[in-house]
Symmetry: none
Subunit: 206 residues, 4 copies
């Protein structure tokens, strides 16, 4: 057990299946080129097999996407739920949620990048209805935290909570597009710096 609970995803575990490896490959290609610009053949090439062989493991290209996104969201919400269940004060809740988000980026960078790029467009399809549901839940969660924070004088009274919500949402997830974990900073450190800007601003206080 490591002290931060991180398990590098590159370690191939005993063998929960070729599927998992292939999904990781698919996710990384989707993340790099976008879902619709990614050909099934490209994924197969990257995995060292032929395109047709993927269909032994998956129904379709879409179902790979589906598995990637739903697995990611499941984990994400498990993390969020744990935070929310802790019953912290607004400011601490916000810190914990942001930190948890950066941990998810660290673990599922590819999935987060795919989510960022494709969610709006996919949310319309019935198969991906859970994306829209998740977005709404996400929004409710943040608005609630922010409103409580304003009410309890943790956040500025003049805060436009809807704007702040979008600000936080974008700010956090877009990081997936540049954050590379090989660096010296772990997700918690990055989160800390983000929070410093979000909470205190960049201007010098007089």
């Amino acid at each position: 057990m490591t002290d931060n609970g991180r398990v590098p995803t590159t370690t191939p575990r005993p063998h929960p299946g070729r599927r998992t490896e292939l999904l990781a490959t698919a996710a990384s290609v989707f993340a790099e080129h976008g879902y619709s610009a990614t050909t099934v053949r490209r994924i197969a090439d990257e995995a060292g097999i032929l395109a047709g062989s993927l269909y032994y493991h998956f129904d379709s290209k879409e179902s790979m996407l589906d598995e990637i996104l739903s697995a990611f969201l499941d984990e994400l919400w498990a993390g969020y739920d744990a935070v929310l269940a802790a019953g912290l004060a607004p400011r601490e809740t916000l810190r914990a949620l942001v930190t948890e988000s950066f941990r998810e980026i660290d673990r599922h960078r590819a999935a987060v990048a795919i989510y960022q790029r494709e969610a709006r467009h996919l949310a319309g399809h019935p198969r991906f209805g859970y994306l829209a549901a998740s977005q709404e839940r996400f929004e409710r969660m943040w608005l609630k935290v922010l409103r409580r924070g304003v009410a309890e004088h943790a956040f500025r009274a003049d805060l436009d909570v809807r704007l702040a919500y979008r600000f936080l949402r974008d700010t956090v997830w877009v990081a997936a597009s540049w954050y590379r974990p090989d660096g010296t900073h772990g997700p918690e450190e990055i989160a800390e710096q983000y929070l410093s800007i979000v909470l205190e601003g960049i201007a010098l206080r007089e």
Copy 2:
């Protein structure tokens, strides 16, 4: 009304630019569905012509994308250059750059959205080398402003300028994905609220 039979120039001239119209159509479809998921036929449908007819005006789907992005970047940099030429103090420069960015989002929402989604992926292609160039110039510009601001005590001394740069960059452009100008707030007002968060933070100051 004129005595030489010429129609007043305010009347829509023979075609100040069918191209321009078609590019706007293309941009809005690219923005909505993503470049590679957009079919040329969809653009044509939206424009009320047949798919093949687009090729009277453009070489290829890719060249439409190219024109959209390069026209946008040209305008964007014209705006930025005007701001930089004004020689304002760091804090005011930052305000002006952010405000200018929101104005560009207002004018070229589709182009900005496309840029957001596709730039990283495109920057590799030789044809889109100017995207990479623009990104570097963008980074240099922001880092310079932020560093000067720290040096001149406009911004916090402990600011991680690289992180703040990414923060600003993402924060500003991602707004293109949700900002809708039909609302009551113009780009300047949105910019003002963003700046308030970025500069002062969301936490209540004691």
Copy 3:
């Protein structure tokens, strides 16, 4: 009147029409790239107009080809008929026919090249039935000359006339693909050298 009756085709006569100029342009493009690889736009470009404008002058691309080929064949047969009407001996008839052929190559190089390339393929189409007719007439003409020449001891008794016919036919017309009149030799001189090889062979006689 020149002493060989040649009129350079590049001289634009008083104005028998834009048609003639355009046909010359079309012929040269067809000759260079082949009929089906030639686009109507290419012809128009070469002529300095837009593709659609060609249709003011011609019904179709095919009708341009038709005019080019039929004009060529008309002139060719006028020349051959004059030779045949002269009632020369076989050997002199052959010389005259070959010489006349080289003159036609000189005047209608493009048309000859087109004919070479496309005749076999076109002869099937009803519209180009005259090509097949011309080919048959051509064959009959040559076989007659050769047979008479054998009978009258002008040509070798062991000559395979069908093979010799093909040999002559190919040999003469293929010259259109390399013969360039800018050189120092006129068509009559080239013909003379060809005839020397055809009649006497290249081997040294002991």
Copy 4:
């Protein structure tokens, strides 16, 4: 009949080369209709598959052409090189080269016909640079043989070697357009008759 259940190897093996079959089909269609008038669908029809299926085997229509021509030229030069390596006298070298050429026509009729029709036009494209190279090598080879023949009194002293070269070149290859091997004469016999005309001429010797 074998005791290990394996089908005797004379039975069409799994696929010694579907590619090769398809190339033969493509070559025959290209030869008949010309490269650019040939549709990929026509080739596929002739092969009994769908047009798209060709792209499992080949990159493009152009790459089929490329393979056909380069395979042909490789074989052709292997044959010529064997002849040249034999170190025969000029007259015998010429006989052997012409005979070898007719053998190639016999084996690769389609490729030769395509070469005849398209080489000049293609030699410009970078991809087909080897065509130009081959043409130059061809020319050097023939000029050398002819010049040696003149010097060694095998051929007429007054021979215009450049003209004779073109004459031979055209004469030999154009035969591909009419020569059909189903006939009673093999390529060697046709070559013999050609050589008789080329060497001795058609005129009766007094």
